[in-house]
């Protein structure tokens, strides 16, 4: 997908009266006109048309996007800002104009991958890694790094409903490559996608705890020439069939449910996590911005790495509504959300849905 | 500075015609006082205050302009004068200066009547009741009915941003004004243009509305009208306390009901004149009872629904329906309040006035109780009415009166009462002044924010009125 393919979208945004600006987590956090979706797209367009020179400075605004896609919910032209801006990032990378913060990104990516792989084997008993299994559990980087207990909890919940045919995928990678996409490193992503696709093609089903991994494998991999024949599901989608079998010993009185962007808006999975959560929580509180309009935790688009202050403000904004109540818990189904929200959540506990279920068994 | 008075007299005569100019004591004495109780009290034992040097009756804005140019040239202070019914000394000369009073009442014509848009263009010297009657004759009403209806002029109302008994439905008089003509201190006649609404800068008429003649003389206005109602309904509810009565009113307004009249006062059945001869003395419970009086107008089906909504809310808060009679009776006597104070002012040792303040609903019941208590502690009598109710709050009209040992002591008590009222008001989150303007009296009593707003007015006045001729001393101006 070359940059120019987004011409129509970029042109439309250039002349649009900023109608989606109120949704943009980055724009709301920075209060900066140049980082609302319309302005980022307009800048990409100016660069595309050669009206403004592409430099690390002009390219910098492309990185002020958490890729949540909420703006698209308020667009009547069906413009997808995320892929367009990620393509603009790719353009910057190709021209060597990516901002300094992106240097040595590939090296850092693989260094982290390797250390987390090590961590994974350290954390999880070897009996869970099985070469030949019907269903492979593809664990994700943020889960291993920030919420390793989610791995145990997921396995525990699966066990409790009698699913014994899931094995942890014992591969070389713990990430489907979303960071590469968001970094504009398309050739790195292609390489990784093909690697992973070939490794996973033996399974019937693949389950991931990271919604972005699911979306990448299901929708982006085929476009990169790396289709995966197996069905790729998020843990929550997979578990949904077993929801009635989950027997909890106690329930939590109340909690908010936070829709992870990729699980909700991108994959369209809204009811399954609520059904599962309903097994363990008596009253599910909804955010005003929920489901298709779910507001990002601030973790996507590499914003958490490049602009930690902005990412923190986005999390704060997401939690404002919870803070006005006495509800002590926010439940999500994504390790990135869990990490990003819990940094700003004070006394409110942010917990992964799988952990919550495991705890109440 | 010695003022060449005969020269000025000659010029003024030229401006308005000799027949419309007077320096006769008959006229200057008549224009020496307005209805500020403090000044009236002072005049009981003291000397009758010196009136203006000249009274002029211009017949048109151009003549007003001429007068103001003369005043500017000689730096003479000018008072725009309507009905002279100011409760705050806004229309009476002060200090030892040669004042010109511009009596606007010759400018009393309806200039144009647009029955399609329901807008009247009328001169500002017209007395309220006359305007209303002339409108009524054509099937319209202004909807502005203050107690001063029979004496005040449109110009006076606009200058003080007056609120009438129907303000819950029709707003203050400034809300009815679509445009106005005013003469600025240097004699320029300016017209703010008429539009239903606009977005072309600040609403400039509002610089003169409420400015109490300190920036210019309002000579005409365009006002929005409505049709005389075919139906008017009344209703009354009795509550054990004032707070639930306020609650019922507040909730009704939030629900979107637009009552014509909505006021809370003491149970009128306790009024001596209304009581049966052998009725027992009222108990404390009787005395704390409050009655919500309501009137509605408009299409009959709509009025019925509004009545129903209020009835439901009032009943839910413990209100007992008293039917139409008490409210209808009040309506019949709606101008009577204007007459009640005078008897209290004619005796040397008595004092009386009317504190009016505005507050949001949450502050209101506390203010009501505190004000009542503070006055009663001093042995002063009060009657507090909740009026001018709107979505976010209402005003308290607190009539007070008391007795002192002497005329001097009465004056002192009067001042003390006002200081007390201001203290209670500010401590309780209220704002002093809601209906009558500030005049000579209120500026010093206001809270700091309100004082700052008047200081801003002084700044504007320096620009528009460098000679300081327009009603100096009013609203804290010099």
């Amino acid at each position: 997908m070359s940059f120019d393919e987004y011409e129509k979208a970029l042109e439309l945004c250039t002349y649009c009266p900023k109608l989606c600006r109120h949704t943009c987590p980055v724009g709301n956090a920075e209060r900066r006109e140049s980082v609302i979706p319309q302005a980022k797209m307009a800048m990409a367009n100016l660069v595309r048309k050669g009206q403004v020179e592409l430099t690390p400075e002009t390219a910098s605004v492309f990185y002020h996007c958490n890729g949540c896609g909420l703006c698209g919910e308020y667009c009547e032209h069906d413009v997808d800002v995320t892929p367009a801006l990620f393509a603009a990032r790719a353009e910057a990378v190709n021209k060597g104009m990516d901002p300094p913060s992106m240097k040595q990104f590939t090296d850092r990516f693989y260094a982290r991958n390797d250390s987390l792989l090590h961590e994974l084997h350290h954390t999880i008993e070897e009996r869970f890694f099985v070469e030949e299994a019907q269903v492979a559990y593809f664990p994700s980087c943020d889960t291993i790094e920030h919420s390793p207990r989610v791995l145990h909890d997921t396995l525990k919940v699966l066990e409790s409903v009698g699913v014994d045919y899931v094995a942890l995928h014992d591969g070389e990678y713990v990430c489907a490559g979303y960071p590469f996409w968001a970094a504009g490193l398309m050739s790195e992503l292609s390489f990784l996608a093909k690697e992973i696709a070939s490794k996973l093609s033996n399974y019937k089903k693949i389950i991931c705890d990271c919604p972005a991994c699911v979306w990448m494998m299901r929708f982006l991999y085929p476009q990169l020439g790396a289709p995966i024949s197996a069905e790729v599901l998020h843990v929550v989608e997979f578990m949904d069939n077993y929801a009635p079998r989950i027997q909890v010993s106690s329930t939590v009185p109340e909690a908010f449910y936070h829709d992870p962007c990729y699980l909700g808006r991108w994959l369209g999975v809204f009811d399954a996590p609520r059904r599962l959560m309903g097994r363990a929580v008596r009253e599910i509180h909804e955010f005003t911005w929920n489901r298709e309009r779910g507001y990002c935790c601030g973790g996507g688009g590499l914003v958490a790495d490049n602009l930690p202050d902005v990412s923190a403000k986005i999390a704060q904004r997401r939690l404002e509504e919870v803070m006005r109540t006495d509800v002590p818990m926010v439940v999500s189904a994504c390790a990135t959300c869990e990490r990003n929200l819990s940094q700003e959540s004070g006394n409110v506990e942010v917990v992964n849905l799988m952990t919550l279920l495991a705890r109440q068994l | 500075m010695s003022v060449p008075q005969s020269e000025i007299t000659g010029q003024l005569a030229e401006a308005v015609g000799p027949e419309n100019l007077s320096s006769s004591p008959v006229d200057t004495i008549a224009h020496a006082l307005d209805f500020w109780p403090r000044a009236l009290m002072k005049s009981r034992s003291g000397p009758w205050p010196r009136g203006p040097k000249w009274v002029v009756w211009p017949g048109a804005a151009a003549e007003v302009a001429h007068v103001l140019r003369i005043a500017s040239a000689y730096a003479l202070p000018v008072i725009p004068y309507g009905g002279g019914s100011s409760m705050v000394g806004g229309a009476s000369p002060r200090g030892d200066r040669p004042w010109i009073v511009i009596n606007c009442k010759r400018m009393c014509n309806i200039l144009d009547m647009d029955e399609v848009s329901m807008v009247v263009h009328v001169q500002a010297g017209i007395v309220g009741v006359e305007l209303e009657e002339r409108l009524n004759a054509r099937g319209f009403s202004l909807g502005h009915v203050p107690t001063s209806m029979t004496t005040a002029t449109l110009g006076g109302w606009l200058s003080t941003q007056s609120a009438g008994m129907l303000s819950s439905r029709y707003g203050r008089v400034g809300d009815l004004c679509l445009g106005l003509t005013a003469v600025l201190p240097d004699g320029q006649v300016v017209h703010t243009r008429v539009a239903p609404r606009r977005a072309t800068g600040p609403e400039l008429a509002h610089l003169l509305i409420g400015a109490e003649g300190t920036l210019g003389v309002i000579t005409a206005a365009h006002l929005r009208l409505h049709r005389l109602p075919l139906h008017r309904r009344f209703d009354s509810f009795c509550f054990e306390q004032v707070a639930p009565a306020m609650g019922a009113l507040r909730q009704s307004l939030a629900a979107g009901v637009r009552p014509l009249v909505a006021r809370i006062q003491r149970d009128p059945r306790l009024r001596r004149s209304d009581r049966e001869q052998d009725a027992p003395e009222p108990t404390p419970a009787d005395l704390s009872r409050r009655v919500l009086l309501l009137a509605y107008e408009g299409p009959v089906e709509l009025v019925e629904v509004e009545q129903e909504i209020v009835r439901d809310l009032a009943t839910a808060l413990g209100g007992e329906g008293l039917g139409q009679a008490p409210a209808r009776r009040w309506w019949g006597q709606r101008f009577a309040a204007g007459f009640r104070m005078t008897p209290l002012l004619v005796q040397d040792h008595l004092f009386a006035d009317y504190v009016e303040l505005g507050a949001t609903w949450q502050a209101l019941s506390g203010l009501y109780d505190n004000l009542e208590e503070a006055f009663e502690k001093r042995g002063w009598r009060t009657r507090i009415t909740v009026e001018h109710a709107r979505l976010e709050g209402a005003s308290l009209g607190c009539a007070f009166w008391g007795e002192a040992d002497s005329a001097e002591a009465a004056l002192e008590a009067y001042d003390e009462a006002w200081r007390l009222a201001a203290r209670v008001c500010h401590a309780g989150g209220g704002g002093l002044g809601h209906v009558y303007g500030g005049g000579q009296h209120r500026a010093a009593l206001l809270d700091d924010n309100a004082k700052q707003r008047l200081a801003v007015l002084t700044e504007v006045k320096r620009k528009l009125d460098p000679a300081g001729i327009m009603n100096p001393g009013i609203l804290g101006t010099e």
Binding site: Y15, R32 | D114, T200, L207, T360
Partner: protein
């Protein structure tokens, strides 16, 4: 760091910006400031269509601001004003401070030219307090309208202010321009909602313009700062009336043979003492647009469907559509005449009037019934609920059409005028005739009052030749506004004046403009606040 970037068409030297930035950093070290090139481009324009036309020609930021600052509270605004005042006293380049909300104005109100300092107020975007018992909210002015409404909805309240810019404009912007929303006939315009505001004047004074409850002694500074477009001070916070979120809503459509009959019906409705939430009457052609806007897609397409499809009475072939587009855009005068001729056939039900009622259930129902009777007595044809709900569902759709039109080589703009009822038809005809030679024009009547109504003209013109387009565009506006003032109308009902209409302020206000100049001299004696808007220097 900005100096290294080459921006085509950017005329202002970037170095001056750097020096201004350095001065500011020196004077106000705690103030957030940027002269990042992307910021200077993003803040260089608002949504004035005249600027959009220039963008089509590649002029994205011909006169970029020197820098952007984000004060975090009114104290910082005061510091900023003090600094600018001090600079004004010593000569050199004058400092110009421009209050900025979300930049969605359509009159160039924030385009103060090269070297200006944009003061983005969005750091000041909190809801200070909600007082349900007083039906009041206090909010800082940088909050985006949608976010404020969202927050109120959480408490079961509504502000009742729904401009079609709700998603992309701030409270401060509403107040500064006297904004109106779609439900203005029930909840009023923004000037009816605000009871008091905090402003920082050009003298550096912080002034609370009124009381929470409104009213008080002396002139209403609230009314004098509302609409001041940043020329008198910064509006930093406001207290506004709020209402219980409506428990009930009813929508209905009515057809009227002619625009004038529809207007007469609205007049009678408003003068009957009823308060509909929504009143919108579309003229013949706008009716077609309004009823078809359900389908996503370009206004150009709808336009073409309407002209080539419906008028010809058959499914239009693509080539015919394109031909029609060319005609629309190159010979608007012909098209407008054609439309007039064909008006009755374009829309079978004549002009559409959408009426909506909301609030308490009983009040809503009785008013809807009374309103219905009144409209039927006025000769309306009952079209049922569907056209009403159709409008409601698509009430924000119209703004989305702008970019489609610009990107297909046309310009689009709107002119919102108003007059009392006696002059309304003259205003309609006058402005329509004045614009017709330059653009394809349609109109709707919304924001009705007992004494008058506003007219919202939308027009589409050709934007193929950049240089000529701007000339034609300016001519259109000059003629349109001249016609409006001649007919006794106001040049703006709710968009404001900004810079694009500034030269019409004398026609608009006559000699009462002096009062505005007096306010300017009082509140901004050093002329540091947004000079150029409202015709003030």
């Amino acid at each position: 760091m900005a100096g290294s970037v080459r921006i085509l068409q950017m005329t202002a030297p970037l170095t001056s910006a750097d020096s201004r930035l350095a001065e500011l950093r020196d004077a106000l070290p705690d103030l957030r400031v940027s002269n990042h090139v992307t910021d200077r481009i993003a803040y260089a324009r608002d949504l004035w269509p005249g600027g959009q036309i220039e963008k089509l020609a590649g002029k994205h930021a011909p006169e970029p601001p020197a820098c952007v600052v984000w004060p975090k509270d009114s104290a910082q605004v005061v510091e900023l004003v003090q600094w600018a005042k001090a600079k004004a006293g010593v000569g050199g380049d004058p400092v110009v401070l421009v209050p900025f909300g979300a930049g969605s104005g359509v009159c160039g109100g924030t385009m103060a030219g090269a070297g200006s300092v944009i003061v983005d107020l969005k750091e000041m975007d909190s809801v200070v307090r909600i007082e349900p018992h007083n039906n009041l909210v206090r909010a800082q002015s940088g909050i985006i309208g949608w976010h404020l409404e969202d927050r109120l909805n959480m408490e079961g309240l509504t502000l009742g202010h729904f401009p079609s810019s709700l998603m992309c404009s701030t409270l401060g912007g509403y107040l500064a321009t006297r904004s109106a929303g779609q439900c203005s006939s029930l909840y009023g315009k923004i000037e009816d909602m605000a009871t008091t505001m905090e402003v920082v004047t050009g003298t550096g004074e912080v002034l609370e313009t009124g009381r929470d409850m409104g009213g008080g002694v002396g002139p209403s500074w609230t009314q004098l700062f509302i609409g001041s477009e940043g020329a008198l001070g910064f509006i930093t916070a406001a207290t506004l009336k709020v209402h219980p979120a409506p428990a009930h809503r009813m929508m209905r459509g009515y057809g009227f043979g002619r625009v004038s009959a529809g207007c007469e019906a609205i007049r009678r409705l408003m003068q009957a003492g009823l308060r509909p939430a929504v009143v919108r009457l579309y003229d013949e052609f706008d009716t077609v647009m309004a009823r078809s806007s359900a389908e996503k897609g370009s206004e150009a397409d709808t336009l073409l469907d309407a002209i080539s499809g419906r008028v010809k009475g058959s499914g239009a072939m693509p080539w015919l559509k394109r031909k029609a587009l060319q005609m629309v855009l190159t010979r608007p005068d012909v098209t407008n005449r054609l439309i007039e001729e064909l008006a009755p056939r374009i829309s079978a039900d004549g002009c559409l009037l959408v009426v909506g009622w909301e609030g308490d259930k009983r009040l809503t129902e009785v008013q809807a019934r009374l309103g219905h009777d009144e409209l039927m007595r006025s000769g309306g044809k009952d079209l049922g609920e569907e056209p009403g709900w159709h409008w409601f569902k698509n009430r924000y759709a119209v703004s989305y059409k702008q970019s489609k039109l610009f990107t297909s080589g046309a310009f689009v703009d709107t002119m919102e005028v108003a007059a009392t009822w006696d002059r309304l038809m003259d205003l309609y005809e006058g402005v329509r005739k004045a614009i017709a030679p330059f653009a394809f024009v349609m109109a709707h009547f919304s924001h009705a009052y007992p004494e008058g109504c506003s007219i919202y003209f939308s027009f589409v013109g050709p934007a193929t030749d950049p240089g000529q387009t701007r000339q034609q565009y300016d001519r259109l506006w000059r003629r349109g506004l001249t016609a409006a003032t001649r007919a006794g109308g106001t040049i703006s009902h709710h968009h404001g004046v900004g810079r694009s209409k500034a030269h019409f302020m004398t026609e608009e206000h006559g000699n009462s403009l002096r009062l505005l100049q007096t306010l300017k001299a009082t509140f901004d004696p050093a002329s540091i606040l947004n000079p150029g808007v409202l015709g003030l220097s």
